[in-house]
Amino acid sequence: MTTHDLAPWAASAGLQRSPWSETEINRLIAILAVALVGIVAAWFGCSGATTWTPQMRWMVLGIGATTLGGAGGVGFVIAGLRATRAERRAVVLSLREIQQVSPYSDDPGTAAPGHELVTGNGMSHYHRSQCLLARDKDVVVLEPREIGASHLIACEVCEP
């Protein structure tokens, strides 16, 4: 699914384009600008000084500015991670509401017809065959022992 699949209703709903608010983006730009100015000032001051003591002061300024830039970047990525995690949680909760079919029959060794455990080429998770994330995809049915032997992770939506 890409943004090219954006339906008209989604566009009219004002689909936000990134997980960051405008304030967070502006804050990052401001921090990086301050850091860049600090590094340039440190280089300029250090080049003009001929003795050790003032050069050390400029060095400290340069290192501080670089650290500030790094902290700004880390904060920005963390904000994005939190927004993405919140969105994932909302999607999982939304999908769980419609996932009401039990995949198992009374026999623990076999799954009910049409509710086998499946995975697909390139997938890192295994799903119930009725899971929305596996439905209408090119999948293969898994035996329980195959799941144990593989490195596949249980889907967080259908919770097989």
Partner: protein, 127 residues
């Protein structure tokens, strides 16, 4: 997709690669400058302009690349959620159309004043 379109679509990753290349170039120049002079006082400006500036650009490159990954994932999740919400809304509208509630139905008469509109379960129970 030609190269310009690719650059436009993946501007953040392109910028990240550009920053990383410039950073490596700055680090290399800094190393050459420091190694070419024996005096520490003359080495320090190279350390700042090459070393610190290179690290700064690498930080920007990493931030851009990670934010591009996050943006892609977030956008897909949000689109999925909006589609799901729209589908649920359509489902509710269809249910309401299929089972219109009579004005003097027993269910409505039994409902206390101010109880609000019937829920999905109420509508389903009438069928």
């Amino acid at each position: 997709m030609d190269f310009l379109n690719l650059l436009r679509a993946q501007w953040d990753r392109s910028l990240a690669i550009g920053c990383a290349v410039i950073a490596l170039f700055a680090l290399l120049l800094g190393y050459i400058g420091v190694s070419g002079t024996p005096r520490v006082a003359a080495q320090l400006p190279y350390f700042i302009s090459g070393g610190l500036f290179g690290v700064f650009l690498l930080t920007i490159a990493a931030t851009l690349w990670l934010s591009a990954d996050l943006r892609d994932e977030w956008r897909e999740l949000r689109l999925l959620r909006l589609q799901r919400e729209a589908a649920a809304e359509r489902e509710l509208q269809l249910e309401a159309l299929e089972s219109p509630m009579p004005t003097d139905s027993p269910a409505k008469r039994a409902r206390p004043q101010g109880a609000g509109r019937p829920s999905r379960n109420d509508v389903g129970a009438q069928r």
